[in-house]
């Protein structure tokens, strides 16, 4: 049974004195555990949309439901404490140590000292700054990337159900950025958070998102899986946006798990294997590396769950059709599960 974490119904925002809407008629449903990226050019309304979710901005019209409750009816502070918020400018409190920054929300929730300390240690480890001495540092004594990690840790402190992230890796060099992206994917997998993540980097949006919201001029152009956006763009805007991507870049954003076929023969020790959370460019590399025509797909427990073949691979069109069929099957399975 999948819960609906967030539902936006016809959300519009027009700032006072502005001539046009910044966001117009956005309706969408986000399931619990979804990692949703919001992609769009500068000024397309990404930040405005995000800030209406935690009521930093009030929507001009429309309603937002958080686990079924209209957020206008909730006490705004209580509601925000259930949401982790990471802003582009990081916004760490400069007069507080790393530890104090992270402990801010747990403290106002009156957690006891041991619990707070344990939580701080846990989070620092999670974001890769587990070394004891980081705790007592002030934000100024950290690099930009480290500050960004602390911002992430602080946002997760009270174990929020929903995370809102506004271009959190915007100001970070490419390598550190990739590391942080990978870590975020790991964290999301481990903790099954629902994440709304704003970016204007198309690669980032495709790499991170299970689903992508594409925005232009304050309107949602398409809200779909990376696969569907690449192969079934909803309109010319989306088409143009993805046309800038070459074939290799497209492979980079397609996850193996979407292309797994049933095993055609028993697995052998000599088989080439590929992990199901890898991407199709990794598959391509593996084909070249091993010289095999067939790779066995394994899951987290290293159990074989299917295969992916060279023949299937070179006919993307065919893959596409199969995946669509698989998608339908998955949905049917989900529906069956939903009923019990």
């Amino acid at each position: 049974m999948t819960n609906i974490a967030l539902e936006l119904v016809n959300i519009t925002k027009k700032f006072a004195h502005a001539e046009t809407n910044s966001v117009t008629g956005v309706s969408l449903t986000i399931n619990e555990g979804d990692f949703v990226t919001i992609l769009g050019t500068s000024g397309s309304g990404k930040t405005t949309l995000l800030k209406m979710v935690n009521r930093i901005y009030e929507s001009t019209s429309g309603d937002i439901f958080f686990y079924g409750e209209n957020i206008k009816k909730l006490k705004v502070e209580d509601y925000r404490r259930k949401i982790g918020y990471v802003i582009q400018q990081i916004g760490l409190f400069p007069h507080m140590t790393v530890e104090q920054n992270i402990a801010t929300v747990p403290k106002i929730l009156h957690w006891n000292k041991e619990k707070i300390n344990a939580r701080v240690d846990e989070l620092l480890k999670l974001v890769g700054l587990g070394d004891e001495h980081y705790k007592k540092r002030y934000p100024k004594q950290l690099s930009g990337g480290q500050q960004q990690r602390i911002g992430l840790a602080r946002a997760m402190a009270a174990d929020p159900q929903l995370m809102l992230m506004d271009e959190p890796f915007g100001a970070i060099d490419a390598i550190t950025r990739q590391n942080l992206q990978d870590e975020l994917i790991n964290i999301q997998k481990k903790l099954n958070k629902t994440i709304l993540f704003v970016t204007h980097d198309i690669n980032e949006a495709f790499k991170l998102g299970d689903k992508i919201i594409i925005m232009d001029k304050g309107e949602v152009q398409q809200f779909d899986t990376p696969y569907n956006i690449l192969f079934h763009p909803a309109n010319d805007f989306v088409k143009q946006l993805i046309e800038t991507e070459n074939i290799i870049n497209r492979l980079k954003v397609l996850r193996v798990e979407n292309f797994v076929q049933p095993l055609t023969q028993p697995t052998k020790l000599a088989d080439g294997v590929i992990h199901n959370d890898k991407f199709l460019d990794d598959v391509l590399a593996k084909f070249f590396e091993t010289g095999k025509k067939r790779l066995v797909v394994i899951d987290d427990q290293e159990e074989p769950i299917g295969e992916i073949s060279w023949d299937q691979f070179i006919q993307l069109k065919k893959i596409q059709d199969n995946v669509v069929r698989l998608d339908v099957q998955k949905k049917n399975i989900r529906r069956v599960n939903d009923h019990d």
Binding site: N54, I90, G91, P94, T104, V105, I108, R137, P139
Partner: protein
């Protein structure tokens, strides 16, 4: 000869009247502290209100600036018919004066807090009060204390003038000395007022610097090992 005489007189005066001098210092401090306590209680909330509105803050600061420009003696004279002679009148006038210095600095302090820091605080669910106590106040504190230091020095100086309307304090020495043409009193009044200002300045400067380091996250004790 006259010189050494005067110096001897100066110290003899202390020997004879040190109790009176101490009482006057105490009176002076009492006025200064009363003025500051009332002023801060007014200035901090006022600054917070003004922080919400650019228009309001420029109007109020213009008014406070104009009041600050009135010579203190004239101000006392205006208020005597309303409040009478003595300490309450003096305190009222000084509170009004000090508002300009305190509000301007406190407001500057609040404005210096980065908008993204406040947004982060609001976004994580801090209430207005929590945001004020945990974030805005500590970050505005250096500027606030800077204003306080200037205000203290100005108040110590202006309080001497308040003696002219019978408020007491070290100004009494100055005005008595002038009336009686007795230089030793004037010198004692001047020296003590100067010492008070100097000490207040030194002490407040310590707090101000500390709060500045704290607000910037530069306290040395931060990193162990």
């Amino acid at each position: 000869m006259i010189m050494t005489n005067s110096i001897a007189d100066f110290f003899n005066y202390f020997g004879e009247y040190h109790d009176d001098l101490l009482i006057m210092v105490a009176q002076h401090l009492q006025i200064v502290l009363t003025v500051l306590a009332i002023s801060i209680i007014i200035a901090v909330p006022l600054s917070l209100v003004l922080y919400q509105s650019q228009l309001l803050s420029s109007i109020v600061l213009a008014i406070l600036g104009a009041l600050y420009a009135i010579p203190s003696l004239a101000f006392f004279a205006i208020l005597i018919p309303i409040c009478g002679l003595g300490m309450p009148t003096a305190v009222t006038v000084l509170v009004v004066y000090v508002q300009f210095i305190l509000v301007r600095n406190t407001l500057a302090g609040f404005k210096s807090v980065d908008a993204s820091i406040l947004e982060a605080g609001r976004g994580m669910g801090l209430s207005k009060l929590q945001l004020f106590v945990k974030v805005q106040l500590p970050l505005a504190l250096p500027s606030l204390l800077g204003g306080l230091r200037l205000a203290v020095i100005a108040t110590i100086g202006m309080t001497t003038i308040a003696a002219s309307i019978g408020a007491g304090g070290l100004g009494t020495l100055l005005f008595d000395g002038l009336r009686m043409d007795y230089a030793v009193k004037i010198v004692w009044g001047t020296v003590l007022a100067f010492l008070l200002s100097w000490a207040a300045n030194r002490i407040l400067l310590i707090f101000e610097r500390r709060s500045l380091k704290k607000s910037r996250g530069e306290l040395k004790t931060a990193i162990r090992n």
